[in-house]
């Protein structure tokens, strides 16, 4: 349906506008201490909020999700890089659902 293309273009336009406006318009160092601190904390807060409890619902069983969370935290704590942590989490889920759950 051609109308779908209009929907898609609106979605694309809004998605890009949200991403491009701050990045192109904010050219200066933000001096305000509160805003600086707020922006510093934003990524950690967003990612943490999106990780838990969503990870429990991403897998077939919440227990394998919880295991992946525990192993992921431990591995990242011990200094594993992005790729290793991600692969470890996948392996934990695959193995735990294959053998145990």
């Amino acid at each position: 349906m051609p109308v779908n293309y209009i929907y898609i273009l609106i979605m694309a336009g809004v998605s890009y506008a949200i991403r491009v406006l701050p990045l192109t318009l904010i050219r200066r160092e933000i001096k305000n201490k509160f805003i600086r601190s707020f922006l510093y904390y934003v990524p950690y807060v967003t990612l943490a909020v999106m990780t838990f409890p969503a990870i429990l619902n991403a897998t077939q069983s919440p227990i394998s999700g919880l295991l992946a969370l525990a192993v992921g935290i431990l591995a990242a704590w011990l200094g594993a890089d992005l790729f290793k942590v991600a692969v470890l989490c996948c392996a934990v889920v695959f193995l735990s659902e294959f053998f145990v759950l």
Partner: protein, 264 residues
């Protein structure tokens, strides 16, 4: 000076690009799994595989696209789909603000325009977790690996529905969360405030998903609400010193940080 700054980035271009491509691999794998299920949602919304491919290539947003597709099913007004997309993607606005503070002085507007295109949770996460100024070529490398996976995965999901065994989908889908952990845990180890904040976020997010009223909101809306409240609370109670650690390391990666008067 502008010459000088650009020169520094171009020196690191090849290496940064390769590192980006490498770090884009786990993201791409996670994207394949997630976008596959997104493709199924697109099919339910009546989109053709090509339309689903196009939507993912242009929008690059899981929650945002999903919300959009459910709006298309309802044959909603154009304004409504614009609003739904805005709300579901509002966190990218915050991420873009955060990125604007990590641009090297004198960066060209083209870099800004291209770097904005694929600000996602994951690609933002890996870019911002590197010390110093953001390197555009690192972002381009990661996008080049991850974005096609996202678009093709969506199309594949639209075509093939339930071909992948459930076990594999289940395992793939935690790759994204593993990446989130790799971004948030190392700073939490170094900084007790961040550690406490991450723990608080887990608890608050869990609470919000169970509480009546809050739990009825969409996941995207809950994420925005919690992000604004918790990050603002942390900023009020624990303001960062004027020169945070990541700025200091900027000196190391882009030797010599001059004054920031870049917008001429």
């Amino acid at each position: 000076m502008k010459q000088h700054q650009n020169h520094i980035v171009i020196e690191n271009m090849g290496q940064a690009f390769r590192e980006g491509m490498r770090d884009g691999v786990p993201i791409g794998l996670g994207y394949l799994a997630v976008s596959f299920s997104l493709g199924i949602a697109a099919r339910n919304a009546g989109l053709t595989p090509f339309q689903a491919f196009l939507a993912s290539l242009l929008c690059n947003a899981s929650a945002g696209e999903y919300a959009g597709f459910t709006t298309i099913v309802a044959h909603a007004a154009f304004l409504e789909i614009a609003l739904v997309t805005l709300i579901a993607n509002a966190r990218y606005l915050l991420m873009s603000c955060a990125m604007s503070q990590r641009m090297y002085p004198g960066i060209s507007v083209w870099h800004r325009l291209f770097m904005a295109f694929d600000i996602t949770d994951e690609l933002f996460g890996i870019a911002i977790s590197r010390p110093g100024y953001l390197n555009p070529y690192y972002t381009y490398g990661a996008v080049l690996t991850a974005a096609p996976c996202w678009a093709f995965g969506t199309a594949l999901g639209t075509v093939a529905g339930n071909l992948l065994p459930l076990r594999l989908v289940s395992a793939f889908s935690v790759a994204l969360y593993g990446m989130f952990l790799a971004v948030i845990i190392p700073p939490a180890r170094k900084d007790r405030i961040v550690a406490g904040l991450v723990l608080l976020c887990f608890l608050a997010s869990f609470g919000a998903s169970k509480l009546p009223g809050l739990s009825e909101l969409s996941e995207g809306t809950r994420t925005i609400l919690l992000t604004v409240i918790l990050a603002a609370g942390a900023a009020l109670l624990f303001p960062r010193p004027a020169e945070p650690g990541e700025e200091e390391s900027a000196n190391v990666s882009f030797s010599g940080r001059q004054e920031r008067g870049e917008d001429k």
